[in-house]
Assembly symmetry: C2
Homo-oligomer: 379 residues x 2
């Protein structure tokens, strides 16, 4: 019998969006959610703490392969699953590079891949030295635990990360912070790639991502004027990262396109990613379907686009009062071609509660419609 | 608070295929399945007999609106729900015409819509008289309970339906059989329309359906060479039926295109329908999403096609041994653009266990790829 049961650790919207393609493809999907009533509730077969070995083991034993809604499961737990013969995709050796930004920077540098100038700093003096060498301003990041702009800070002063140094010392973790040059970039890009355990890879077109306050706000697929060199460079980088790090499933490589025309790797995410939500309607195979195929080691699907352009706009925060659904009558009436996605989450300032995608052969139409439709859900 | 919980009575593949768009749109979907482990299991919140008032009531009280996977819920139960203020879409007054083919024929004739010559016959003599008037051959149908070619028979002899007359008499139902002229048709068409309680309708392009042994085998969307008159006539008929019968949700009108160029109504189905599965990938709004929008009285979505052609091929029966999933590696490798759908049902001769859709701007490519991919799952 073919392996057909995928277990997802984490009950957020990424797990939720894996469920529709699982149902369509006939894959049995089960979710270990952190608490009752999360986004992926409909497929939840377990509730509990992903940092608890017994909880994760009990869940993992009911599925053919384990994958993730997020990258926060402790490596020791993942290694225990692997040692018991339970397939984990991406595996702990790869996932390490998405869990620890210092490890990631070191590995990518070792592979000769393009990254911003960086250093591991353990003291304000070391941070000061880096600042002195890089124009007096830099980005400091905690190695672990950051996301959506958290754990990232621009500093222009050697004392600018003292609180983080103190916190690292106080909680006994010790270790260093990552400091990086402040890249002068034209725009941010993201390149998604899927890779099967057997080695096959598939890339979607590189996309442009627009962030607000460190959070992804919009995605344009493909990135305008990216045909040719930029698209090729981005795809090559993502394929190299996936292959050299042994990533299985979907990998998102966030990148800077610099003002002097280089492409530098910013972050890695080893799971379906906000920059790929457009692919649900915009590509023949969505990132969520592809992730399921990849972790089951099934042949990957076509990543061709279905329209010239797809534009995805996040619904951040949601309505100040009431629910997303209260806004459906007006939004859907005004935008019959917009695809509205709700994550089943309570509105809260800044929270990703849904998104809207519009596919069109006219970029202006797609941008206008997606933004207009999303605007119905805010304020 | 906006109504947002849809309850589906019946746990088959039509209920199953409503789940992905419910999850995407953020609609809470719940299913009353007939037995544990059916196709729509993942959304099942109740198990029981849809002919039992208490079972249906207990389920209906947990949702905002009731709809259906099939048309077999007894009208008395539906009327009881309505009398208790529970919205039911389609409602019992409309559903009657999908439940009883004699009522349907009488109503469509009364509306002046094009139907084959027909009669209600209660005896072999009456059947004989109809045969004598219509070239000696005719189609006899049971008024209730038929589907997928069951309850339909071609007869050329007045005694050809004696067993059915006997069965009607014996089980005390009494009543008549439907007899219809044997239509000389060029091909079969199906026209889908969605209608909201507030009256808005939306039609997809008319499609060609290819039946084998009375079961839908393939669908080509749009029907080749249907632009213009045929498309307009089919859409007008479906809109008229939906409006005049007060249908809410998706309505499928199966039609004959006769050898002399007329369009005649064959059957009605008041739910998403096999002839609309192509729309999951082939239209901006699928029949399943549209059905949810319609029964919640939300504005309907665009029904534009996403490629020039979509071809859907049913997987009938499935593999002689093993599961559908055993065939995925070969099928998906050979057809990376084919969208394979598995219904989570055990393979069994003749059973609809899945389907494959290919969208393309080249009809030959779509037909070839869809048939080739589906063939991997049979034999």
């Amino acid at each position: 019998m073919a392996k057909n049961t995928v277990g997802v650790i984490g009950g957020g919207q990424l797990a939720r969006m894996m469920i529709p393609p699982a149902i369509e493809l006939g894959v049995d999907i089960r979710v270990l959610e952190e608490a009752p009533g999360m986004s992926a509730e409909i497929a939840a077969t377990g509730v509990g703490d992903y940092r608890d070995l017994e909880t994760v083991l009990a869940f993992a034993e009911t599925v053919d392969v384990v994958t993730f809604d997020h990258e926060h499961v402790p490596p020791a737990i993942l290694r225990e699953l692997v040692s018991r013969g339970i397939p984990v995709h991406p595996g702990p050796d790869a996932l390490l590079y998405a869990q620890d930004k210092l490890q990631m920077r070191a590995k990518l540098s070792e592979l000769g891949l393009p990254v911003p100038a960086w250093a591991a700093v353990e003291t304000a003096d070391e941070l000061g030295a880096f600042l002195a060498d890089h124009g007096g301003r830099a980005v400091v990041k905690t190695a672990r635990g950051g996301y959506d702009g958290k754990g990232v800070r621009v500093v222009s002063d050697a004392a600018g990360a003292d609180d983080w140094f103190l916190a690292l010392a106080e909680d006994g973790r010790g270790g260093a912070l990552l400091v990086e040059e402040l890249v002068s970039f034209r725009r941010e890009l993201a390149q998604l790639v899927a890779r099967r355990p057997s080695g096959e890879t598939a890339v979607w077109p590189v996309v442009e991502t627009i962030q607000r306050d460190g959070v992804c706000a919009e995605v344009i697929a493909p990135a305008p004027q990216s045909e040719g060199r930029i698209a090729d460079v981005a795809a090559d980088i993502a394929r190299t990262v996936a292959t050299e790090l042994g990533v299985t499933g979907v990998l998102a490589v966030e990148m800077f396109e610099t003002t002097d025309g280089r492409v530098l790797i910013n972050e890695l995410a080893m799971r379906p990613h906000n920059s790929g939500h457009w692919s649900i309607e915009g590509a023949v195979t969505s990132q969520f379907e592809q992730h399921l195929r990849a972790v089951l080691d099934l042949p990957l699907g076509s990543t061709e686009v279905r329209n010239d352009w797809s534009v995805m706009v996040n619904i951040l925060g949601g309505p100040a009062e009431g629910t997303l659904q209260d806004r459906y009558p007006a939004a859907l009436a005004a935008h019959p071609a917009a695809k509205v996605h709700g994550y089943g989450k309570e509105p809260r300032p800044g929270r990703k509660v849904g998104h809207v995608t519009v596919c069109s052969d006219d970029l202006g139409d797609a941008v206008f419609s997606a933004r207009s439709a999303a605007a119905f859900f805010e304020g």
